[in-house]
Symmetry: C2
Subunit: 158 residues, 2 copies
DNA sequence: TCCCATAGTGTATAGTTATTCATTTATGTT
DNA sequence: AACATAAATGAATAACTATACACTATGGGA
């Protein structure tokens, strides 16, 4: 069952990094990653992920993740938040992020804003964040999700 | 030829005011306004208007106009700008808006921000704005467009 | 263990949208 | 006006996407 989350993550990855104009195309890209399934399932996945199909400047339509508004200042806020990240550990299926003092709320807020399906919720203190993953979501999935939210974390994790 | 702009305006009107989930539905709504045409043309119009089809919170997909961000404060700015409007006249296919002293830039900026296809560009002085409409766009089309951008103008025009 | 309920999936197909082709309509030029 | 050219449109259809149905796997309870 871990397969589905893998698929969903891959879909987000692909859509956020390149233009995809239909499901057949996306299906092929997923095949290259070793993920084989059908158009029907993909359609359902896209609906689940709330992916939109938007105008590519009048030249056709492409898929886009929701909440990609990226308001001005958003990137700076991300960079700031990521700087406060210290480490992540897992225990009893729960993730525990340690941050510099005072940084926990801002990092948790980044996660909550994205509202990834892999993470049911977060609980932030001053320098600690508790991550509550969905059932059947692996530690690796959680980490990948965090990196997707805050790409700067890639160097800091593992 | 004024018919096409009429259609395009109507489409924007409908989409901005209610949920529409497919072209057949939109076609019927347009019929009620006395605009009869086919799905093929509608598909082309939507592409032209860069209309997106976005997730309706996971429950299906609906059409949405581009640039509907409407940041906080936007409405107040519109009200302010509209207050400075004095009159509009046409000469040689060009529109000339007179405003209270100092208001021209803010009104012109409202127009430019919306970037309506009916208007190629604007030129603002201190109390005068030159509106350069697209070829084949009538005075009425320009006025309707302006009202769509700044609804408060409705009472001030004509 | 054996049901039952639930979620996930593929196949086939229904539903929806874009495009090709033919035709008409508008525009510009002499 | 007469012609050439470009733009707009509808009908038919191709291309694309969503869903009904059947089936399977999984995870509780009894």
């Amino acid at each position: 069952m871990g397969n589905r989350t893998e698929r969903l993550l891959a879909i987000r990855n692909i859509i956020s990094s390149q233009k995809v104009s239909n499901q057949e195309e996306l299906l092929e890209l997923l095949e290259k990653k070793g993920l084989n399934y059908t158009q029907a399932t993909l359609s359902r996945d896209l609906k689940f992920l709330k992916v939109n199909k938007i105008s590519d400047r009048g030249r056709g339509y492409i898929y886009e993740l929701p909440d990609q508004h990226h308001l001005p200042g958003q990137e700076m806020a991300e960079t700031y938040a990521a700087q406060g990240f210290v480490s992540i550990q897992f225990a009893n299926k729960l993730g525990v992020i340690k941050t510099l003092p005072g940084y926990a709320p801002s990092i948790a807020s980044m996660i909550d804003k994205t509202n990834p399906f892999e993470i049911v919720g977060t609980l932030a203190g001053d320098d600690t964040i508790l991550i509550i993953p969905h059932d059947n979501v692996s530690e690796k999935d959680v980490i990948n999700t965090l990196i997707m939210i805050l790409p700067e974390l890639k160097d800091k994790i593992k």
